[in-house]
């Protein structure tokens, strides 16, 4: 019972992140499915994709009414990403995972800093 409640609450939080930032929510869905509901890592990652469907659909439905969705771009991004998944699966088998994780972590810090600097430089109220 407590596990269900915890999983539902974490799901709600994942959805909040998805709607707020346009990410899928998998960051929270995968650990919740694995650690709270006890799925294996593979099943958690697969099931996370299914959980993202209602989450992303609800988010897109709202974002569409706010006129934030560019459909053509989304289609191009989506199709290219599916091709990228295939490439990534092959690289994942060839390279050491720990080194890749560190590299990706460092990359995210650089990008975060770039976004913050960009906000800093831009005037708050452009004339």
């Amino acid at each position: 019972m407590w596990a269900l409640l915890a999983a539902g609450t974490l799901g709600l939080a994942a959805g909040l992140l998805a709607g707020l930032f346009g990410v899928g929510g998998g960051i929270l869905f995968v650990p919740t499915l694995a650690l709270v509901l006890g799925l294996t890592q593979l099943h958690a990652e697969a099931t996370s994709l299914l959980a993202i469907l209602p989450t992303a659909a609800a988010g897109v439905w709202r974002q569409r009414s706010y006129r934030n969705v560019r459909w053509r771009a989304a289609l191009i991004l989506g199709v290219a990403a599916i091709a990228g998944v295939e490439g990534g699966a092959q690289i994942a088998e060839a390279l050491p995972e720990q080194a890749l994780r560190r590299l990706f972590g460092a990359l995210m810090l650089v990008v975060a800093a770039q976004i913050a600097v960009r906000v800093w430089r831009k005037p708050a109220y452009p004339s």
Binding site: G8, L12, G22, P54, A57, Y66, L77, A81, G84, V85
Partner: protein
């Protein structure tokens, strides 16, 4: 062409680290494709919908998807997404950018250690 590269990178990273494409797509749309925050995030979510649909069908064919568990987190997830989108619409672009940068930095540190 930039969109193709951004999408491809997002797919690559999501296969390598199990992070959804959004964490890659949103900053790249903002930094490389001159999107402002809200369109970047709305468009990213629509792309993710497509990616997750194809991905979950593929996994489901292998029998690795647990629909009950997906519903337990996914239905509250849908409610959260509606609330999140409404909140996003009320925040200034700067606030949104800085909050996203903070999320990204937090994840970066988590991946590093």
């Amino acid at each position: 062409m930039r969109l193709v590269a951004i999408g491809f990178l997002a797919g690559l990273f999501s296969a390598l680290f199990g992070v959804g494409g959004g964490i890659v797509v949103v900053p790249l749309l903002i930094l490389l494709a001159a999107y402002t925050e809200r369109p970047a995030m709305g468009t990213s979510l629509a792309a993710i919908l497509l990616i997750a649909f194809v991905g979950s069908v593929t996994y489901a064919l292998h029998g690795e998807v647990k629909p009950g568990a997906a519903a337990i987190v996914g239905i509250p997830g849908a409610l959260g997404a509606v609330a999140g989108a409404a909140l996003q619409q009320r925040l200034a672009n700067r606030t949104l950018s800085l909050a996203f940068a903070a999320l990204l930095a937090g994840l970066g540190i988590w991946f590093l250690v």
